[in-house]
C-alpha cells in the first residue's frame, strides 16, 4: 500500500484535481473532434462538399462529373529555323 505520510490528503487532492482537469480536457477535445467529423460527414452525405474535395466513387456522382477533355497532342511545327530568316 502506498504510504503518503502525514500530508496524504493534500497529495491525493493534488493528483485528483490533475486527473479530473486533464480527463475533462481530453474528453472535451475528443468529443469536439468527433462532433465536427459527424457534421462534415452528414453534409457530405447530403451532397454538399467542398469544391476541392474528391468526388465519391458512386456511379451517380461520376455521371455528374464533367469528363476530362481529351486533347490531342498539339502538332509541333515542322522543323525549321525558328525566328524567321536565317542570319547570314
Amino acid at each position: 500500500m502506498l504510504d503518503l505520510g502525514t500530508h496524504a490528503s493534500f497529495i491525493i487532492a493534488a493528483y485528483g484535481v490533475t486527473f479530473i482537469a486533464v480527463g475533462a480536457l481530453v474528453l472535451a477535445t475528443i468529443e469536439d473532434d468527433r462532433k465536427q467529423r459527424r457534421k462534415l460527414a452528414e453534409l457530405e452525405r447530403l451532397g454538399i462538399r467542398r469544391r476541392s474535395a474528391k468526388a465519391p466513387a458512386s456511379p451517380t456522382v461520376k455521371t455528374l462529373a464533367k469528363p476530362k477533355a481529351t486533347r490531342a497532342p498539339a502538332k509541333r511545327k515542322a522543323a525549321g529555323p525558328r525566328g524567321g530568316k536565317a542570319r547570314s
Binding site: G5, H7, F10, A14, L25, T29, D33, Q36, L40, R50
Partner: protein, 245 residues
C-alpha cells in the same frame, strides 16, 4: 515544413501522427506516474509532499509554453495572415488554461502544508494567476466575435501584449523577494534537485508535453473541420435560397 501549412496536408499528417502519439503519451505517463508515486524517495525537507511537484512543475511549464505558442502564432496571424496560425492560437488557449489552472491548484495544495497557507500575493503566484486570466480573456474574445478572421486578429493583439507576462513569471523569483523558491532546475550551475527526484520530474514533464501536443493536434483538426462545416452550411443555405427564388 511549409507544405504542412496547407490545412489538408496538415490534417493528413495529424491522422497519421495521433495514434502513435497517443501510445507514447500512455506509456510515458504510465512510467512517470509509477516513478512519481512508487519509486521517488521522500524529500529531506518536504517529505512525501514532493510528489505534488511531479504534477505541479510540468503543469506550470506547459501553462507558459501554451502562451508562448499563442504569441508565436499571433505573429503568424498578424504578419502572414495564415489561417493555421489562428487555428493554432485558438486551440492552444483552453489547453494552456487547463495546465495553468492545475499549476495554481496543486501549488496551493503544496503550499498549505509547506508554507502554512494556500495563497500569498507574491510575484510568482500573482503572475501565474494573471496568466490564467489572460487565457480566459482570449477564450472569451474568440467566443465573443463570430467572424473567425476578426476574432483571430483581435486575439492575436491581446496574445502579443500578454506575452510580456511570460518573462515576468520566469524571472519573478529573481527580481522580487518571493515566498516561492528560486529557480532550482534550469539555472546556471545545474539543477539543485537530487537525480532520484529529477528523473520522475523529467519523465512526467515529457509525458505532459506529449499530451499537450497530442491534444493540440486533435483540437486543431476539430477547429479546421468546424470551419469547413460552417462554410458548407453557408453553401447549403445559399443553395436553398436560390432554389426558393
Amino acid at each position: 515544413m511549409i507544405s504542412l501549412a496547407n490545412p489538408t496536408r496538415f490534417l493528413n499528417l495529424v491522422d497519421r501522427v495521433v495514434p502513435w502519439l497517443s501510445a507514447l503519451v500512455v506509456i510515458v505517463l504510465g512510467i512517470g506516474l509509477y516513478l512519481s508515486l512508487f519509486v521517488a524517495p521522500p524529500d529531506y525537507q518536504q517529505g512525501e509532499t514532493v510528489k505534488i511537484m511531479f504534477v505541479h512543475v510540468p503543469s506550470a511549464w506547459l501553462g507558459m509554453f501554451g502562451y508562448i505558442l499563442i504569441a508565436i502564432a499571433a505573429l503568424g496571424t498578424l504578419i502572414w495572415r495564415h489561417p493555421l496560425a489562428d487555428v493554432a492560437a485558438k486551440t492552444a488557449a483552453p489547453i494552456g488554461a487547463t495546465f495553468t489552472f492545475i499549476a495554481l491548484v496543486t501549488g496551493s495544495l503544496w503550499g498549505k502544508p509547506m508554507w502554512g497557507t494556500y495563497w500569498v500575493w507574491d510575484a510568482r503566484l500573482t503572475s501565474m494567476l494573471i496568466l490564467l486570466l489572460l487565457y480566459l480573456g482570449l477564450i472569451a474574445l474568440w467566443q465573443a466575435i463570430d467572424e473567425p478572421g476578426r476574432a483571430g486578429r483581435a486575439a492575436a493583439i491581446l496574445g502579443l501584449v500578454g506575452a510580456i507576462n511570460i518573462p515576468i513569471i520566469k524571472f519573478s523569483v529573481d527580481w522580487w523577494n518571493t515566498l516561492h523558491q528560486p529557480e532550482s532546475i534550469f539555472r546556471a550551475g545545474g539543477p539543485t534537485i537530487d537525480p532520484s527526484l529529477l528523473t520522475p520530474l523529467f519523465v512526467m514533464a515529457i509525458g505532459f508535453t506529449a499530451l499537450f501536443v497530442l491534444l493540440h493536434l486533435i483540437a486543431m483538426r476539430a477547429e479546421i473541420l468546424r470551419r469547413r462545416v460552417h462554410a458548407l452550411q453557408q453553401t447549403q443555405v445559399e443553395r436553398a435560397a436560390l432554389a426558393e427564388a
